[in-house]
């Protein structure tokens, strides 16, 4: 009983060290998220997971779970904020979903559907972000980068290669490649890298296999992201109950 908090009225058990997001997902409760990935240390930059705790709004993926917290997540107010954040991300980059290889497998797009984002809301920024097609097997289409940093961490921490980094500040922030030329071909990047797999959107793409998985049979075609994310979340090991 001591290791529980309330999420939208439900009791959520947690282990010390877990964040609100981790505990919620493990207990089968979905909080929308984009930059959080169960295999990496929470980053806290997209702010889609914003919840309200005792009247304060904060990111649930980085907020340590504490006994007795009263957390609101699935409210009209918070979902409206999330909708605006998704609209901001769509307007910031160049996202033409119908022609994107990631369509149907894309977390941003899936969140857009799930949160019922019907229009982009803001004027588009149309940033100029040239693609990097230098690598024989991989295409980098920076137009869709949402700066979640997952590839940066995956490449550094799992692949041990430091292929990606962030540069610039504010709206000029962008992803760069660790090579004097700045080109992916001049790195040790490989299609088997973890960084290849973590990108939630359509930036890091395998060449020559485009659309091999037909639209309609993709990850978020079958079920909404709110259901899929729960399936992907690490569960509390059987027999280890916190109620």
């Amino acid at each position: 009983m001591s290791h529980t908090f309330q999420l939208d009225g439900a009791n959520i058990g947690f282990e010390p060290g877990q964040t609100v997001m981790q505990a919620a997902l493990a207990a089968g409760h979905y909080i929308p998220h984009l930059c959080y990935h169960p295999e990496f240390k929470p980053h806290g930059s997209c702010k889609l997971c914003t919840v309200k705790v005792n009247g304060r709004t904060l990111a649930s993926c980085t907020m340590p779970a504490e006994a007795g917290l009263e957390v609101e997540s699935n409210t009209d107010e918070l979902n409206a904020l999330r909708r605006t954040l998704v609209q901001m991300l769509f307007a910031e980059g160049n996202h033409f979903c119908p022609s994107c290889e990631k369509s149907g497998n894309c977390v941003l797009q899936a969140l857009g559907y799930d949160l019922e984002v019907h229009s982009t809301g803001f004027r588009h920024q149309y940033p100029d972000r040239p693609v990097d097609a230098s690598h024989p097997e991989v295409l980098l289409d920076f137009n869709r980068c949402i700066l979640c940093e997952l590839c940066v961490h995956a490449s550094a921490e799992v692949d041990g290669k430091h292929v990606f980094a962030l540069a610039g500040r504010g709206i000029e922030k962008h992803l760069i490649v660790n090579a004097e030329s700045g080109q992916l071909a001049d790195t040790h990047f490989s299609v088997n890298d973890k960084a290849m797999a973590v990108c939630p959107v359509g930036v890091i793409l395998r060449k020559e296999v485009g659309f091999s998985q037909p639209i309609g049979m993709r990850r978020y075609d079958a079920r909404p992201i709110s259901a899929q994310a729960l399936e992907d979340a690490p569960r509390v090991p059987a027999g280890d109950s916190h109620e």
Partner: protein, 600 residues
């Protein structure tokens, strides 16, 4: 002065050596390289990467975060005009235009001969003696058309900066009202001696009893902060003094650093004694680089006087020393956790909290971060006795406070008051007349109108980090807010979605309104952006970035509405403007080559 090609490599060795070949010193290394070469040449990036064994992209990532570091040449002379609203009110824009004419140059471009570039920079902290500019990082105050012409001439003649007239670089203190902090009657060592007579817990207790609250803005109890640091387990502890002073309109730390540096270092040393720290850092904003050598001299004097170094004042085992780190043009680095990241040589991104710096700060060790004025006040409280300190000011805001007054008034400068002084009193003292509004505590603070001038400065009513910008009734408060919105967009670190995208969109919408294309729909959008910024941003920058607009909309809505078109919708995209290039190419400018508003 500026070499290129492979010749950079030999001059890199001493820089790397000076910083102990330590990747944690990357920002300091890059700052020195920038200073030596006028930019950070590609060969230097390669060399540093190889030498420190870090990815090249990390160096590019750090360098591109800070405004004063450049990965491409930016001219032998880089001229940056300070662009706070107070500089604007003093005519910086026409001076910039004049400079561009003088040097045949467009803002943001480097001249073809690589001689010079001209641009804007955020508030340089010279609001009481603007308009100001930075030339290769050196501040020049009190610009006039005459001075601008002279500077243009010096640049064209390639006169080295060291040989420019000394009076350009004079920074005055402009103290108009002094109190115990500025007319400090104590001698260095007094506070330390008082502290050495107490135990560690007693010092913290005394600071708690003094009621001292942080002077950097948030007003957190200094005693509680030190207590948390003292109790936190850690192999090393650190004291960090925040001299980033980036909030536009604030320049009181500049004067304390000039006049009371010894006393500030004394406060840091007392803190070190209380929490058990062996090392301290002063994080000095790049704009105040001219204070670096004088500050180092003060540190040296303190070492010689036994007030710093080993066995301080003869107390065996009380070892503490202070190092100065330079910032490089990033307002967000004033936020304490971003400051720590920057001290560690990284991009200045605010950390996720908890854990807080008091337990996991510099190098993940317990760290007390305080403002310049807080350390000065802590030393003062101990030297004068905490009860005497507490007797100054008000119940919840003890002590005195430095106010940086600028804008429309006869006597801009520094005023020290006990907390509780009313806005009207300050206005009277500085000779402000026909005042329309006062911006308290900078763009992230609050804007008040005449019906609130009886309010009092202090944590009970109007908390302030010190900025006090005065606007008289000739000013357009919409333009004031627009300048602040530009500031936040420029300074957003870009980490979180709401602030990265939101400040930029807010800027575009404010510009659209300023250009006369705004509609009611845009005002609604501004209000929506404000809400998202305020509730979902990662740090105080984003959470307060909407304040200028919220407050001016509240008090001065007509200033916005008078600029709106009566239309409910106006495209963000200027269709007729987009045809300008085609018109130029075809040499046409007749009515048929324009789209009329009603067609659009």
């Amino acid at each position: 002065m500026f070499s290129c090609g492979t010749s950079v490599v030999p001059s890199l060795e001493p820089i790397l050596l000076k910083h102990g070949n330590d990747a944690g010193q990357l920002l300091q290394i890059l700052t020195d390289v920038q200073q030596a070469f006028g930019y950070i040449p590609p060969e230097a990036v390669n060399r540093i990467a190889a030498h420190l064994n870090i990815p090249l992209a990390r160096i590019r990532g750090v360098a591109s975060f800070y405004s004063f570091l450049k990965l491409e040449p930016h001219g032998e002379y880089r001229l940056l005009f300070s662009d706070n609203i107070t500089d604007r009110m003093l005519g910086n824009q026409s001076l910039l235009d004049e400079m561009c004419r003088q040097l045949w140059l467009q803002p943001g471009k480097v001249s073809e001969d690589g001689l010079v570039s001209i641009g804007l920079t955020s508030c340089t902290g010279m609001c009481d003696q603007g308009p100001a500019m930075l030339v290769n990082g050196r501040v020049i105050t009190r610009l006039t058309p005459q001075r601008v012409r002279e500077i243009g001439d010096l640049v064209r003649r390639r006169i080295p900066l060291e040989d420019w007239p000394a009076e350009y670089f004079v920074v005055e203190d402009n103290i108009h009202r002094a109190g115990p902090l500025l007319s400090n009657p104590f001698t260095p060592g007094d506070a330390l001696r008082a502290a050495l007579g107490m135990g560690e817990a007693e010092i913290v207790d005394a600071i708690k009893r003094s009621g001292l609250r942080g002077r950097g803005g948030a007003g957190f109890s200094t005693g509680l902060k030190w207590a948390a640091c003292q109790q936190a387990p850690g192999s090393e502890k650190y004291v960090v003094c925040n001299a980033d002073e980036g909030e536009p309109g604030t320049f009181k730390d500049r004067v304390l650093l000039t006049r009371q540096a010894n006393w500030m270092f004394e406060g840091m040393t007392v803190c070190a004694l209380a929490i058990g720290a062996g090392r301290g850092y002063l994080y000095l904003r790049g704009e105040y680089r001219y204070l670096l050598e004088p500050l180092q001299d003060v540190l040296q004097q303190r070492r010689e006087a036994g007030l710093l170094g080993r066995d301080i004042l003869g107390h065996a085992g009380f070892d503490f020393d202070i190092e100065i780190h330079l910032g490089a043009g990033a307002y967000v680095c004033g936020e304490e956790s971003a400051l720590i990241e920057s001290l560690e040589g990284k991009r200045g991104i605010p950390r996720n909290r908890p854990p807080f710096p008091v337990t996991h700060g510099y190098r993940q060790q317990p760290t007390a971060v305080n403002n310049v004025e807080t350390f000065c006040s802590a030393a003062l409280a101990l030297a004068m006795g905490v009860d005497n300190f507490r007797a100054m000011g008000t119940e919840k805001s003890s002590g005195s406070k430095l106010i940086s007054v600028s804008g429309d008034c006869a006597r801009p400068g520094i005023y020290e008051y006990p907390f509780g002084v009313s806005v009207q009193e300050v206005l009277d003292d500085c000779g402000a007349v026909n005042t329309l509004a006062v911006q308290i505590s900078g763009p992230s603070g609050i804007c008040i109108g005449p019906n609130e001038f009886n309010r009092k400065l202090g944590f009970e009513d109007l908390p302030t980090a010190g900025a006090f910008m005065v606007f008289d009734d000739s000013r357009d408060m919409f333009e004031v807010a627009r300048n602040f919105v530009h500031f936040f967009a420029h300074e957003s670190c870009g980490f979180c979605t709401p602030c990265r995208v939101g400040t930029s969109m807010l800027k575009q919408t404010m510009d659209k309104i300023a250009e006369g294309h705004g509609t009611r729909h845009d005002l609604a959008e501004v209000e929506n952006l404000d809400l998202v910024l305020q509730t979902t941003s990662h740090c105080g920058l984003g959470r307060t970035a909407c304040n200028p607009v919220l407050h001016t909309l509240k008090h001065f809505r007509p200033a916005y509405e008078s600029k709106l078109k009566s239309l409910d919708f106006e495209p963000a995209f200027d269709l007729d403007g987009a045809l300008a290039r085609a018109r130029r190419m075809t040499g046409r400018d007749d009515a048929g080559a324009h789209l009329k508003a009603e067609d659009v």
